[in-house]
């Protein structure tokens, strides 16, 4: 049935199309980029935003949940960069979706993504990953700027690089392609934050390539405002023996979808994914992982910890796909949730899709409130209940943060987490 074509467009869909038609002359890009943008927008027009009938959006019916989309703001608000998450980091500011022309980092090739759009170099990467890739379509048609990073082979960048994306009201669509050369080392902090608290629609895609032997720490810190919609995506391709520690923190936003699309295509490579989702108020936050182990001898571990307060709704979908012939894959995934209120909810769909036999794959998922025994233990030592609860919640998420070996980074993340918990508990 042609359910999609007969549907009337929702307000959000209309707003997206309008945002495009209003800006079309103004969006950077050569002919190839423009035609790609056109196609992506047509796709949104024809199929609409995904509904719960689309399996990968089952728990996040974007069509229903995305009620309104603020119009793009013509004049960018004046925004100032803030202190980096980790002291001493090199900050690459993206204010209201625009990169700074003068930004540079020693030892790293930094250019603005708008340049890649203007030259047409970015055209091929703009395509959506698949027909359900709504984030790819929205971002691809409306993206304006961002940074393209290239870390040369063998380079070891000691200072963390912070991609600091700040915004006010309106729409922000950014992209961060990053290539880490063979044997290079770097730490990237991708930070999304509302500067004014006014409602905005943010879409951002990081397109990460790890060449052979690269060793990268990538942190996504999402602290959007209570009225913001954040559609984030990170795409990762692994070379042989490459290592990635990916750390995702969600601590804000009204409607959040973080997609992690990871393809392990190099033998001997290793992914460590850790996630902390702090959900409060009326947020709907969805972390969706699609991890393909496509070659033999690769490892991955994923641990996601969620804390649900108030009327928040959380989703974790984690699909691990082991391709035929990807023997000796070792993949372990865990998703643990503390559901602290009866008004909140959490849905988990950890999926295993395995086509090779000599593998060790497993997943575990738990959802529960704080253990009464734990609480009793602390209370019997004279700690008041609310404090005891706070300690237990803190310990629950701190455990995964501590796995990041970088002390400064651990401290920085812990301080964000405790500040958030203090505000909500």
């Amino acid at each position: 049935m042609n359910i999609q074509t007969t549907k009337r467009m929702t307000a959000a869909e209309v707003a997206l199309v309008e945002a495009y038609t209003e800006q079309v002359g103004d969006l950077p890009g050569d002919a190839s980029v423009t035609s790609t943008r056109d196609r992506l927008l047509d796709d949104i027009k024809n199929t609409g935003l995904p509904t719960r009938r689309v399996e990968s959006w089952h728990y996040t019916d974007l069509r229903t949940l995305l009620r309104s989309v603020p119009a793009p703001v013509a004049a960018a608000p004046s925004l100032e960069t803030i202190a980096p998450l980790v002291d001493g980091s090199k900050v690459l500011p993206v204010l209201q979706g625009s990169a700074s022309a003068s930004a540079s980092v020693e030892g790293v090739e930094v250019s603005s993504f708008a340049d890649a759009l203007l030259s047409g170099a970015a055209a091929s990467g703009l395509m959506a990953l698949d027909r359900d890739d709504a984030i790819g379509k929205i971002n691809g048609s409306l993206v304006r700027d961002g940074y393209a990073l290239a870390v040369p082979a063998g380079a070891e960048i000691e200072t963390p690089i912070e991609l600091q994306a700040l915004h006010g009201a309106g729409q922000v669509h950014t992209r961060f392609p990053a290539v880490f050369g063979a044997g290079s080392k770097a730490t990237i902090i991708e930070r999304h934050r509302s500067a004014t608290g006014e409602a905005a629609l943010v879409s951002s895609i990081s397109d990460v390539t790890l060449e052979d032997g690269a060793d990268v720490v990538w942190v996504i810190m999402q602290e959007q405002g209570a009225d913001d919609t954040h559609l984030g995506q990170i795409r990762v391709r692994f070379g042989a023996d490459a290592k990635l520690k990916l750390f995702v923190v969600n601590a804000g936003g009204k409607l959040v979808r973080q997609e992690l699309r990871i393809d392990v295509e190099g033998e001997g490579s290793e992914l460590t994914l850790r996630g902390v989702n702090l959900l409060g108020h009326e947020t709907h936050t969805d972390v969706t992982l699609v991890l393909g182990h496509n070659v033999p001898h690769t490892n991955s571990t994923e641990i996601i910890r969620n804390v649900v307060f108030d009327r928040a709704r959380g989703v974790f979908q984690g699909m691990i796909r082991v391709a035929p012939d990807a023997q000796k894959t070792d993949a372990k995934m865990a998703c643990n949730t503390l559901l602290l209120t009866d008004d909140g909810e959490f849905s988990v769909k950890p999926e295993l899709e395995i086509f090779a036999d000599d593998v060790i794959c497993g997943h575990g998922a738990t959802v529960a409130d704080i253990d009464d025994n734990h609480l009793y233990y602390l209370k019997s030592r004279g700690i008041p209940e609310n404090k005891a609860r706070a300690m237990l919640v803190n310990a629950f998420v701190a455990e995964v943060v501590e796995e990041l070996e970088d002390e400064k980074l651990v401290e920085a993340l812990e301080s964000v987490i405790s500040a958030w918990l203090e505000k909500h508990a």
């Binding site: 559901l339 909810e345 988990v348 060790i360 497993g362 997943h363 738990t366 409130d369």
Partner: protein, 489 residues
């Protein structure tokens, strides 16, 4: 990589003509023409001497079915089914009221004998005096004989074919039929509501513990007859019943469709235990033929402290699409699901369960063991849902997959939805192959490889086998062995 050589041997070894029950019974059959229309439904209803309201119920379902779409979300792949190329009614001819086994067509009895169905339960269970099995044997859509009817009657238990029940107990049918799986539920359940030809009806009245295990052996026999069974089991307050369902089917070239519906209703303090051994023809070595098994099974723990337990051993069928579920409506009710799904050759299994927690203090337990070999695809798909008002709900899920050979696939798709903080949900799943260490450990004690693997597989599924009634446990273990022959060592 050791896996490669192993696989070559395994795939070569898989010649699924090992299906042992591939014979055919030649008896006259009374059947309706191929195809589906309102006339066919009227024909079926008339044949069954059904009252008008039943015909209306069927026609209503049929009209709705016409507007529905075939589901495509399951991880199974098969050519489109032509629903007009199927016989919807076939009944063994000399069916006019046999009162004892002696009057039954000897051809039929021979078939059962070959299958080893315990029609003469004393012979089968010689020496086990306390355990009795009543068989309502379904032979191509019509219950031919029902034993033990009298003893059951004494206890007040009603155990008869659903067609009889529609005639004799219309009040119970009207009250319960379609109350768990509504006619609008899903494509195949709706089709079943329109055309179901037979099945079992069990009613265990208040406070009665059914004196024996009830059992139905399904057997698809006539070429191209889809079997549309409808089973309805009701356990009133404090009642208990254990029901066994076992299946075999003769070898065929053409695919056969089986779309059954099973409804269980447990009232306060009642308990229903439903066990299945499914061993239908899985198709040949090329993946040709085999049964399509699209079943809707659902239990409703309607009363407080009620319990429903599903145990299944799935070794047959080309395609299985089956999710025995529990709706835990009553407070303190409990649902259980124990499953072994073995796939070999080109079989495709997409099976699992749903545990819907609605009442307070409800608990559920899911143990699923999948074994895939050959070129088969074996998917566990399950849902655990804790609703807003389900205080103190508890779920434990464990699904393990074992892979034998590197051409097969094992998939796990659990959906976990929690809306109440007092709920406690645990889920764990693992996928691996039999480790060389395990095999070595057993073999170095002088046990040949094939037996070693069989032993390890038996250990892998032990948790579920233990849940089967004694009569079934033995058969189940044998079946798993037969299904994996040629693929294990």
């Amino acid at each position: 990589m050791p896996a490669v050589q192993e696989t070559i041997d395994q795939v070569r070894g898989i010649d699924i003509d090992q299906y042992k029950y591939g014979f055919e019974t030649i008896i006259e059959v009374d059947k309706a023409p191929k195809g589906l229309s309102e006339d066919i439904i009227r024909f079926i209803s008339a044949k069954k001497q059904e009252p008008d309201w039943m015909l209306e119920w069927r026609l209503d379902a049929y009209r709705r079915w016409l507007t529905m779409e075939e589901p495509t979300w399951a991880r199974v792949d098969y050519p489109k089914i032509d629903f007009n190329d199927i016989y919807y009614y076939a009944a063994p001819k000399n069916v006019t009221g046999p009162t004892s086994l002696d009057e039954v067509d000897p051809e039929l009895l021979k078939t059962y004998e070959k299958l080893g169905i315990p029609l003469r339960e004393q012979e089968i269970l010689a020496g086990v005096k306390t355990s009795k099995v009543a068989v309502d044997a379904v032979f191509d859509s019509v219950s031919v004989v029902t034993t033990f009817k009298k003893e059951l009657q004494k206890a007040g238990v009603i155990f008869m074919s659903i067609s009889e029940a529609i005639r004799e107990h219309p009040d119970l049918i009207k009250k319960y039929l379609g109350s768990v799986v509504p006619t609008t539920d899903n494509y195949y359940a709706t089709l079943n509501a329109a055309v179901f030809t037979d099945g079992s009806f069990v009613f265990v009245p208040k406070g009665v513990r059914c004196p024996m295990e009830l059992s139905t052996y399904f057997r698809i026999n006539e070429k191209n007859t889809g079997q549309f069974e409808r089973t309805l089991i009701i356990a009133e307050e404090g009642a208990y019943v254990s029901y066994l369902e076992g299946c075999t089917a003769p070898q065929r070239d053409e695919n056969q469709l089986h779309a059954a519906v099973v409804e269980l209703v447990a009232l306060d303090d009642a308990e229903i235990k439903y066990s299945t051994v499914q061993n239908w023809f899985p198709g040949d070595a090329q993946g040709k033929g085999g049964i399509y098994n699209f079943v809707t099974k659902r239990g409703d723990c309607r009363g407080h402290r009620s319990k429903i337990s599903w145990t299944q051993v799935e070794t047959g069928s080309a395609i299985t699409w089956k999710y025995p579920s529990c709706i835990l409506r009553g407070d303190d009710s409990r649902g259980e699901f124990y499953s072994i799904a073995v796939s070999n050759g080109h079989q495709q299994i997409d099976s699992g369960t749903k545990m819907i927690h609605l009442g307070k203090n409800t608990s559920s337990r899911i143990i699923s063991k999948g074994i895939s070999a050959g070129r088969s695809q074996n998917t566990y798909r399950g849902q655990v849902s804790i609703h807003r008002r389900a205080e103190n709900a508890r779920n434990f899920t464990n699904c393990d997959s074992l892979l034998i050979g590197d051409k097969c696939g094992a998939h796990t798709v659990p959906y976990i939805e929690v809306k109440n903080a007092s709920g406690q949900v645990e889920h764990e799943a693992t996928t691996s192959k039999i480790s060389e260490d395990q095999k070595f450990y057993v073999m170095q004690r002088g046990i040949p490889e094939e037996e070693a693997i069989a032993l390890i597989v038996n250990g892998f599924v032990k948790d579920v086998i233990q849940e089967l009634p004694m009569e079934f446990a033995v058969e189940a273990q044998k079946l798993i062995g037969i299904s994996l022959e040629g693929s294990v060592g």
